[in-house]
């Protein structure tokens, strides 16, 4: 295992090229009915990297994430072709999708504080997998809330409703909940859309720490956020994966496709 190293400037350091592949996607095509949302995407995501996905709305970013944990199952209109390998195993043929989902934490664009106490929000996933011991749950709740930079704000009111927290707090609660799964992969879908800039920066700091323990897929429409966090970045546009490269290369103009440069420099999207 190769630990990711933070360089002095704080910019994301690359993951060594020989790091094990966590997720491999081959020729992935996603259709809603007859309309392709994503065509022929092939990419691999390495362990302990933050993999950024940027692109304007309707590029297929969210559909891409949904197929990774088989949430496409819930949408009968959604058709997926291609191979997705998680730790080398083809998840399209997986029977136990629940085990797959419990290994992948997901954070949505809009925070979802479940209408239960803050404590129960974070303890939900361990409880779903059968944990009952109060002391063990206490430890998990405190650790996950601490790591999501929320503990200090809520430690005195763990029994109040999670759904009544402010938007930014709810988003950190969502992250704490995702972390309580002890996920191998954390997928964030435009997490900062409903969060103030200060909270966003705090969450970004958290993510930089977390990548030592897990692989992070960061979908964002803030290109600078990808630059701050991601070691490699893919650019999606209208259902096409235009380019994948080292994030710094994309931002310093070393691009293979001129559309990438145009998007990053803000000429469209």
């Amino acid at each position: 295992m190769v630990a990711a190293v933070q360089n002095a400037a704080g910019a994301p350091a690359g993951v060594a090229d020989d790091a094990p592949v966590k997720l491999e996607v081959r020729d992935l095509t996603i259709r809603y009915g007859n309309d392709a949302a994503l065509s022929n995407v092939s990419l691999s995501i390495r362990e302990h990297e933050i993999f950024g996905i940027i692109g304007p709305a309707n590029a297929g970013k969210t559909s891409f994430l949904k197929t990774l944990n088989r949430m496409d199952m819930f949408n009968s209109n959604m058709r997926v072709n291609g191979d997705i390998l998680f730790n080398g195993l083809d998840i399209r043929r997986l029977k136990n999708v629940y085990a797959l989902r419990s290994r992948i934490g997901v954070v949505f664009p809009l925070p979802v504080g479940l209408p239960m106490t803050i404590y129960d929000n974070v303890a939900l996933s361990p409880r779903l997998s059968g944990m009952k011991n109060k002391a063990d749950l206490d430890i998990i709740v405190e650790r996950c809330l601490t790591r999501a930079a929320l503990w200090d704000e809520v430690k005195d009111r763990l029994t109040s409703l999670g759904s009544l927290l402010s938007g930014g707090q709810q988003q950190r609660l969502t992250i704490a909940r995702a972390l309580s799964q002890e996920p191998e992969v954390l997928m964030l879908d435009e997490f900062s859309i409903a969060v103030d800039p200060v909270t966003t920066m705090r969450i970004e700091d958290v993510l930089k720490e977390l990548k030592q323990e897990m692989t992070i897929i960061l979908v964002t429409n803030l290109v600078q956020q990808a630059r701050r966090l991601a070691s490699r970045t893919a650019f999606f546009l209208n259902g096409e994966c235009v380019e994948i490269g080292e994030t710094e290369d994309l931002f310093t103009g070393e691009v293979k496709d001129p559309r990438t440069r145009d998007y990053i420099e803000g000429r469209f999207g």
Binding site: N69, M71, R101, V112, L128
Partner: protein
């Protein structure tokens, strides 16, 4: 820049007109309720006493109390609830949480709507045919309660489905994303937040069940019996039928007696409703998003 134009004046006048109109309509709604309650209290209040509630009718039902009927209605409603609430909630959960949108669910939906539209006397005849005769339950609490249960099933199903649908979809997705099964999601997230709505359906059912006369008069309720039911296979008196009997079928009943019976019936429903409403408000206080 804020001077009032001709149009502003007109708009505000129209707005006041509509507001008054809607207020009048609302007040109009309260009038019958107050009139009914008032009449019952004025005309029937005098017969209400502990004895009236806890003794049997005497003198060819022209005197005495209504205890067997009160007791019987409680039995009928309780057994009907025991049957229809689990059945209705289970069906609603299946339809709203599991079933896809296909011809099968469309047929079931159609059946539920039609069931809700069937007149109660038709339910009564069905109850006689199915439960009294075919299943050989005889005229009994069981047959009457089954008939009531089937009649009120759509109320429970529709109310439950609506309250399940009211739980935001994002909550389910968040749970599924964690690796929860559908049932885990339903039990831990969906149901706790739908309980108050489901309870509304049950309240409506209680009110309707305790007042229905037609479905029970051929299937389990009797004109008069000196015995209290010992099991669900016994016949029983019931408040609604008793009211019908003392108002129209027995000569020589003092004028205030039927009003007293009606008052007790209404009070019973109101008390049950208030308890449920209080419980619902308690639950709602705990849920917010």
């Amino acid at each position: 820049m804020f001077e009032t134009s001709e149009l502003n004046v007109h708009n505000q006048r129209v707005q006041r007109l509509y507001r008054t109109l809607f207020l009048m309509m609302t007040l109009l709604l309260i009038i019958p309720v107050l009139l009914i309650l008032g009449t019952l209290i004025v005309k029937g209040g005098s017969v209400i006493s502990i004895d009236f509630l806890f003794t049997s009718p005497t003198d060819g039902m022209t005197a005495g109390g209504l205890f067997p009927a009160l007791f019987g209605t409680v039995w009928l409603v309780a057994v009907a609830l025991l049957i229809s609430v689990p059945l209705g909630i289970a069906a609603a959960i299946y339809l709203s949480e599991y079933a896809g949108e296909n011809w099968f669910t469309r047929i079931i939906n159609l059946a539920i709507i039609n069931l809700a539209g069937v007149p109660s006397i038709v339910h009564a005849l069905f109850g006689v045919g199915a439960f009294v005769l075919f299943f050989k339950f005889g005229t009994s609490i069981l047959a009457a309660s089954l008939t009531l249960a089937i009649m009120t099933l759509p109320v429970v199903i529709v109310a439950t489905r609506e309250s399940l649908t009211a739980v935001p979809h994002a909550f389910r997705e968040a749970c599924w994303n964690m690796g929860a099964t559908r049932w885990q999601t339903i039990r831990r997230v969906v149901l706790p937040n739908a309980v108050s709505g489901i309870l509304t359906g049950v309240i409506l059912e209680v009110s309707r069940t305790s007042g229905e006369t037609a479905p029970i008069m051929f299937t389990g309720a009797v004109f008069f019996t000196p015995f209290l039911p010992q099991s669900v296979f016994d016949q029983t008196m019931a408040m609604s039928l008793h009211l019908f009997v003392v108002s129209t079928q027995v000569p020589g009943v003092p004028e205030d007696l039927p009003y007293g019976v009606a008052l007790v019936l209404i009070a019973m429903v109101l008390i049950m409703n208030s308890v449920s409403i209080a419980f619902r408000m308690y639950l709602r206080g705990k849920k917010k998003w």
